[in-house]
Symmetry: D2
Subunit: 363 residues, 4 copies
C-alpha cells in the first residue's frame, strides 16, 4: 500500500516520478495564518539542484516551485498546501538502454519484482528527484518552527567523504552557515574540503563514485519534544533519514561509540545555572527517553556511494540474462553535499510535527 | 499525543507503566484463523526476563502472559488480541528516594518537563519492562510470518560489549541458535564471550555499567518487502530499533563503512543461477530502494551503557537543587543480552506488517 | 484489518469479546495532568448495564471498571489509559444451541463468512457488551471536555419507541436530566413514556422486540469544532453513531425534512446580540461547513428492533440446512434506553478528539 | 489539523480551493498493474459539471483531468496518483461583495472563526467544486472494484426533490442507467420527474432553492465487506456521505422506518437456494454486523436546499454589523442531480478501500 507521508499532525505526502509530468507533495496540518516566505522555500530547493558543481549531475532543472493550494494572499489557510515542481529537462531517451536492465544497487530489480511494473525512466519513483518538493515543504516547516520557537536552528554539514574526514575535535566546533555553504562540498573545514576534492577528482577519473557522512545539529530546541514510545525524537529523525535513498546508517549523540563506554563515562550529569537546567556533557545528543532535554540535538547520517558508475559492471536483465553494463547519463560523482538540504528539510518536518504534537501533551 | 504503536496493518499498541497494575499491548490486524503457539510466546518473554544472570537486574517477575481477547479455541479471530502481563514484584518503595530526583541519562527530567507529571516508580512508562508484552506480540508476529513464508528466520546476537568485540570475519559466519543462547551474553564466539564476561565483571566491581552491539540477520525473506517512500524496510526497522531505550545507532548492510567506499567497491552485482536472482556480494544488506532483494537482511544496533550506576553522580532535583546521587535498586550491569528478544520481536512485527502490506502491491 | 478505534488525536481503541476474559479499551492522546473522576466513569457504565428494567436482558454483570495504566495518583500521565471490565456472568452454555446457526439479522453469518471463524458465544465481538468500556472512556472524554470548556453539555433522550413518539413541539423543549433518567425508558415526556411502556409490554407478550430513536443535543460548544473535509462534525458524529450495532439512520438539524424545504425556509439567518453571533433559527443543527457555529448541535439516531426474538424464525445453519429457530437466552425487548449512555459516550469521544484537533487550527 | 482523506488502504486525499490554481487529489494504495480508463474518469467528472441544465450554476469549467503521477503507459505503478483539475473560469470578482459578509448557512462564518482567515472566493475550500477530482478518483476506484469483482454495480438516483417524491413501491423497482440519466434531474420515474421540474421552476421563479434525496444501490457485492468495529460498511458509507456539503441525513436498509417496526417484521430470514445463501427480505439493506451479506446494499442520503438564494436575507458581516444580503453569482437552484456522481464516487472509494482491507481478513 506504500507509505508516502512524513509526519503525523504536520504530514507531508510525496507524489511523482522522475520523468512524469511533475514531482510534488501535499502538506497537511499546517496551522492557518502563517505568513509564508516562498523565496526561502525556493532557495532551499535551489541548494538541492543538480549541475551546481563539477561533480554533480548535469541534469538542468529549473525546479521552480508552484503553490497550487492552501495559501491565500501569502498566508496559510489551514488547508492542504500542494507544491508542484514540473519535470522540464527529463530526457527519457537517456534511459531506454537500461529499460530492461537491472542496474546494480539501484531499485530497478526490487521495484519490478514488487510491483510487476516500473517506470524505468530516471529511476521513476526511486529517483532522489522526488525530494525536491519535500525540500520546499521542509523550508516551510522551518518557518512554522521559527514562528513557534524563534531561536531554533537546524544546521548540517559534510564531515566526511570517502576517506577524507574531519577529526572528532573539529566536529565539536561551532560553524557558521557561511563556512558550510562557502564551498561546493558543504564542509566547514578548509583542510578536509581540500582532501575531499582530491578524493572526488580521483573517483571521477576512475568512473567511480563516493559516499560520505553528514552531521546535523539542532540548537535551541526546548525540552519536551518527542513522543514516546514509537515516535521518540531519535526514532522519528532516524526513520526520516533512513528513508533517504543511499543512507546506510544513523546515530545520535555518542552513537555507536557509546556502546564501548561505561555508564560513568557516557552519562551526562545534570546541573543548573542561571535557573536553566542543562547537562555538563552532551553524550546523549540532546535526547533522553526519546524527548529533547534542551541541549543541542546531534546526529550523524551515513551515505553510501552513488550506485550509477561508468565503470563496467556485471548484472542481469529482465529476461534473466547475465549481461555487462556501463551506466552513462548525467549522474553525480558524489551527491552527499546535495543531500544537505534534504537532511535539513526532513529534520524540519519531523521537528515541526513533533512540536505540534507536543502542544497537546498537557492539559 | 504520543505514539504507542508499531506497525500499520499489523499494529501493536503498547500500554502500561513499570509499577502499575500491568503492562500490555493490543495486536490489531492479525488475520483470522492462525493457530497460535502460546508456549512459544511465553518462551520469548522468558528470554527477556530479569534475574537470569549474575549481571542482570534481580527483579523477579513471573511475566506470565494472559491473552484477554482475540483468540478462541487457540485460533485468532481477526479481532484485536490483548496481551496482559501483571506487575507482581513491583517494589515501589525502592524508588521513593528518587521520587524528586532527575537521574542522569534517564527520562526523569524530560518526562517531567513534557507532561508536568510522572510516575517515577521504576521509570514508569520509560521502563524497558513495557517491552515484555511486545516481545510476546513479536513472537506471534513471527508465527504469522512463518505461516506465510515458512523459511523466514530472524536471528540476533551480541557481537560486542564494551571493548570486547567479534572481528568482521567472525561476524560473516553462520551461527546456530544454540551457539547464541548457549551462554548468558548471547554471543556466539567463545573467545569474545570470555572477554565480554571479563569486561562485565570489571564494570560490576566498579559500580559501573556497559553497552554493546547486536547484529541481526533475516534469511529467506522473499524479494518485495518494504514500502517506499517512508516505510522502506531499513526505515521501518531503524525506527523500531531506535525506539528501544538505550539504542544510539542503527546501520544496515555495510552501514557507516559504506560511506568510505567507492561505488565500484560497494555495489553488489546481480547474477542468476538455478533460475534464482541473487547478488554476488551483499553490501546492500539485502535491501535496495527500501525493498528486500531476496538476500539476507543484515543490520546492527548500538546500545549505550545502562544509565543506572551505583557510582556517585552529580545531578539536580525537582526543586532545582544540585545534589549527589548513588542509584541503588535492582539494575542490570549490562542489558544488551536481554535486548536480543526485544530486537527480534520488533523485527518480526515490522516484517509481518510489511509482508501484509506487500500483499496489496499488485492487482 | 479491522478498525477498532474511535478518534484520531484522542483515540479510543476497543478490544474484547462478549464471553472472553474481559472487554476493554485503550485511550490514547489524553493530555497529562487531568484529575479523573472514576466514580463518574463507573456511573456511566452502570447506566448501560443490563437487568435494570423489566424489558432488559437479565445478564447480571457487575461491570466494574479497572484502570490498568495511564493514571497515577488519580491524574492522567499522558500515557495510554487501559480500561478493563471482566466478563463474570458469561454463560457460554446458553449459546451452544446456536453455535452452528446463523440467527436472522445477527452478525453470525457475515462474521463467519468474513473471518472463517467466529466466537459464537454471546455474539463475540459483535456483542453490544463491548461498548461497556467505551462508555467509561466516553465519561473520561467528557471530563476532558469539561476541563477545556466548562459549560459543554451532552444530553440524549428517547423520543420514540415503536410507534409511540413525542411530537416535534415537545422535542423542541428543554429537559432536565432528572426528567430523562426519572423513568426506565429515558423519555422526558410522561405521556409518551406511558405509550412506550404499553408498546413494550405488547411486544414482550408477543415474544417480539422494538426499536426507537434518540435525540442528542450538545449545548455550549464553541464555534470552530469539526475538521473539514472528511472529519466534519456531522461526519464524525454520524460515523460514530452508525458504528453502534442496530443503528440504521442518522440525521442532524432538520435532517431528512430539510430535503423538502426551500432554501429560504431552511436557511438560518445570522444575527448579533450582546456581542454574540448566533442564528435566529437552528435548522442547521449547529453545524455549517462541518464546523460548529456556536448554536446547539442537534442530531437524531434511529435504532432497529433487537434481532433476538423468541418467536420462531426460519434460517439456515453452517451446513446450509434450512432450519427453524427460537432464540432463548437473556435478551432485551427494547435496548434503546440502554443506548443512551453509548450515544453520549461516543459523542463525548468524538467531541474531545475534535476539540483537541481544533487547538492546532491556527498559529 | 484537518482530515482531507477518504479511505485507509486506498486513500484519496483532497486539496485545492475553488478559486485557487487548481483542485486535485492524490490516490494512494492503488495496486500496481491496473490498466486505467481515463475516458471513463473524465466522463464521471463531466456528469458533475455545472451548466448542464437550466437550474444549475452557469460557471463553465472544462474540468479536464490531468494525471500528474502514478501512471505509466496507461497502467498504475503502485505509486501515488495525483489528479489535477485547473480552475479556469474562476471569476473571483463575483465574490468581492461578499468578502466580508457571512452568507446564511454557508461555511463563511465558521471557517473564519476556526482559522482566523478564509479564501472567500467561491467558498474556497468549502466549495463543492473540490469534489471534481474526487469524482475522477471514484471512477478509478470503481475500475479497481470491477477488476476484482466484475459484477459489482453502484447505482444512484434522485427519488425526491422538494415535495415531489417517488413512492416506496416505485423505489423498490429496478432501473437502468438510461432511465436515470435520460433526464436532467436523474430521476427514473417519468411522473416524479415532471413534478420535480415543476417544483424547480417554481423555486427558480421565487429566487429560491431546493433540496432532495438520493437512493443508492450496490449490487453483486460479495459477503464479507466492512470492517468492525469502527469501519463498518454503513459507518464508512455514512461518514463519506455526511462529508458532502449539504447532506443532512443518511439511512440504510429500512432506515428510520426500522425504528417503528417489531423485530419479527424487520428481521430478514436466511434461506439457501442453488447453494447460495440469501435473505428472503432485505430490510437490513445488505449489511449485518457492519459486514455485507451478499444482498444489495441500499442507502439513502438527504440533501438540504442550496444555501445561496437570491431572495433577500438578514445576516452579519465581519464587523458584526447586521446587514441585508441578496446573493448573486452563478448558483444552482437544485444541485441534487449533480450530486449523483459525487455519491457514486465516494461509494466506490469506500468500497474499494474496504475490499482491499478484506483481503487481509483471513490467513
Amino acid at each position: 500500500m506504500g507509505n508516502n507521508s512524513l509526519g503525523n499532525i504536520l504530514k507531508v505526502t510525496s507524489f511523482g516520478e522522475s520523468h512524469g509530468a511533475a514531482v510534488g507533495c501535499i502538506i497537511e496540518g499546517m496551522p492557518a495564518g502563517l505568513t509564508i516566505n516562498i523565496a526561502a522555500m525556493q532557495e532551499a530547493v535551489n541548494l538541492r539542484k543538480t549541475n551546481q558543481s563539477a561533480f554533480a549531475s548535469a541534469r538542468n532543472e529549473e525546479d521552480t516551485i508552484e503553490i497550487i493550494s492552501g495559501v491565500y494572499e501569502n498566508k496559510t489557510l489551514g488547508t492542504p498546501i500542494c507544491i508542484l515542481i514540473k519535470n522540464t529537462d527529463a530526457k527519457s531517451a537517456d534511459y531506454t538502454n537500461i529499460a530492461t536492465t537491472y542496474r546494480p544497487n539501484h531499485a530497478d530489480y526490487t521495484t519490478h519484482a514488487k510491483y510487476g511494473i516500473r517506470d524505468y525512466r530516471g529511476g521513476g519513483r526511486s529517483s532522489i528527484r522526488i525530494t525536491a518538493p519535500l525540500v520546499a515543504a521542509g523550508a516551510l516547516a522551518l518557518q512554522l518552527i521559527e514562528h513557534i520557537y524563534a531561536d531554533v536552528n537546524i544546521q548540517s554539514y559534510v564531515y566526511q567523504i570517502g576517506n577524507a574526514s574531519m577529526s572528532e575535535e573539529e566536529k565539536a566546533s561551532y560553524f557558521t552557515d557561511n563556512q558550510i555553504f562557502g564551498n561546493e562540498v558543504r564542509c566547514p573545514s578548509a583542510k578536509t574540503t581540500e582532501n575531499i576534492l582530491t578524493e572526488i577528482a580521483t573517483a571521477k577519473n576512475n568512473g567511480d563514485t563516493l559516499g560520505g557522512c553528514i552531521q546535523t545539529t539542532i540548537t535551541n530546541l526546548p525540552v519536551g519534544i518527542g513522543e514516546p514510545i514509537f515516535a521518540k525524537l531519535q526514532s522519528a529523525l532516524g526513520a526520516a533519514m533512513l528513508s533517504i535513498n543511499t543512507v546506510k546508517g544513523f546515530e545520535y549523540g555518542e552513537g555507536f561509540t557509546a556502546s564501548t563506554k561505561n555508564g560513568s563515562q557516557h552519562n551526562d550529569e545534570f546541573a543548573i545555572s542561571n535557573n536553566t537546567i542543562h547537562t555538563k556533557t552532551n553524550n546523549s545528543g540532546g535526547i533522553q527517553g526519546g524527548i529533547s532535554n534542551g541541549m543541542p540535538i546531534i546526529f550523524r547520517t551515513a551515505f553510501k556511494p552513488i550506485s550509477s558508475i561508468t565503470k563496467a559492471q556485471q548484472t542481469i536483465n529482465e529476461n534473466g540474462d547475465n549481461i555487462a553494463i556501463e551506466i552513462k547519463g548525467r549522474h553525480d560523482v558524489c551527491a552527499v553535499p546535495r543531500a544537505i538540504p534534504i537532511v535539513n528539510a526532513y529534520t524540519a518536518i519531523v521537528l515541526a510535527d513533533l512540536i505540534l504534537q507536543n502542544k497537546l501533551s498537557k492539559i
